[in-house]
Symmetry: C2
Subunit: 228 residues, 2 copies
């Protein structure tokens, strides 16, 4: 039986744009595990009530329900050992730093660049919820947040410098082969890719070469993703 995953979708059900869900899509593909995704909207809280929390991704694997992208990645790596996502206990512990960095630095930085664009692609029933919850978080209108993106994008790009230093030395964040660290960061970059036409990376950024390699993985899973 395939794993089932609730996956954040836009008004167009083929538009899948959650950075956390993308991390798990890549992780499942890495394990060679087929998945059946169910389009889910922000306000579909009832549809995932069985998981006893309100966010996606949620996976159901037989009788097992797991939510939270990090917990799902850990579950998958224990349940389906090869190919490894983490490369052992220390690899997992160190990947947690990449995860925490992506969550706090990358996601916050990207939100300031594209959050108003997201409003244009979410489902009609999600629009009020999305605007209200995000404006509470930022303390200003979505339009005001994103208005400064042309001047703010260079600061965001500077925060990615650690990635560039690593990828000068090795082809993947995982070393010689992709690991969950690659899926964390690439999954995070799938969010702006699938929500916006704004280029969060400059054209000449050496990170593009690595991101293109991730987009090519698994038969072009990331590259084939619907864009707005």
């Amino acid at each position: 039986m395939n794993i089932i995953m609730h996956d954040l979708a836009g008004a167009d059900p083929a538009l899948r744009f959650s950075p956390y869900c993308w991390r798990i899509r890549f992780a499942l593909a890495h394990k060679g595990l087929p998945v059946e995704t169910i389009a889910w909207r922000f306000t579909d809280k009832a549809a995932i009530a069985f998981s006893e929390q309100e966010r996606v991704p949620v996976i159901r694997d037989g009788d097992t329900v797991v939510s939270d992208s990090w917990a799902i990645a850990e579950y998958l790596d224990k349940q389906y050992e090869t190919p490894t996502l983490f490369g052992g206990a220390a690899g997992r512990a160190h990947a947690r730093f990449v995860n925490a960095w992506a969550d706090s630095i990358m996601l916050g930085g990207i939100a300031r660049l594209i959050v108003r664009d997201v409003l244009d692609i979410v489902d009609a029933k999600d629009r009020d919820y999305f605007r209200k919850s995000r404006e509470e978080r930022f303390g200003v209108s979505l339009e005001d947040v994103q208005m400064e993106r042309e001047s703010g994008v260079s600061r965001f790009r500077e925060t990615l410098q650690p990635l560039r230093l690593v990828l000068r030395q090795q082809n993947w964040l995982g070393g010689a082969a992709p690991s969950y660290a690659d899926f964390i960061v690439a999954g995070t970059l799938m969010w702006p890719r699938c929500c916006s036409r704004f280029a969060v990376l400059a054209g000449h950024d050496p990170l593009n070469a690595w991101f293109e390699r991730v987009l090519d993985l698994f038969g072009g899973l990331g590259r084939a993703a619907r864009r707005p």
Copy 2:
């Protein structure tokens, strides 16, 4: 025969303050390898000419000479397998991200807080070199860089948020036990600890509990370090 390490020292030869050297002091202690350190000053280029570069740490292990903290850590983990510093290939690959983040984000942030204080502890023969090279890097006087530290320190502390998120979930960056990831970050924090009385971490910062644990390792190696 003991490993020999050239270790950056201040006017007081017991004051050892290089973040890169501290990473290796911790790594050597983790491996249980005795080390004989040689006090080295910025302008002692001739003393390490045998390493064919101009920076410390440099180690000599029998006939083998290795420079650059990352290269030394890799060398030690290959040459002396247990206890491991990296926990395997993926652990090493992921730790490289921690290293790159510490080098680009932490060191740059800390420099803006304490670089003028460093001038007070370096050897007399290093003072002109230190001021000139660092003022060229910043484009302003050391006094001007550090003048803004009271207002700038909160921004620096915010950049450490990924560490706090990780250390909420596990006792060490290495997981259940310390790894080179801990020594990278703690070694970086030994720099301001040994150069300055300015508190780069707030007193209530949860990172203090972890740093105190590192200071206690190896019989209190870090805690015993001379401070200005």
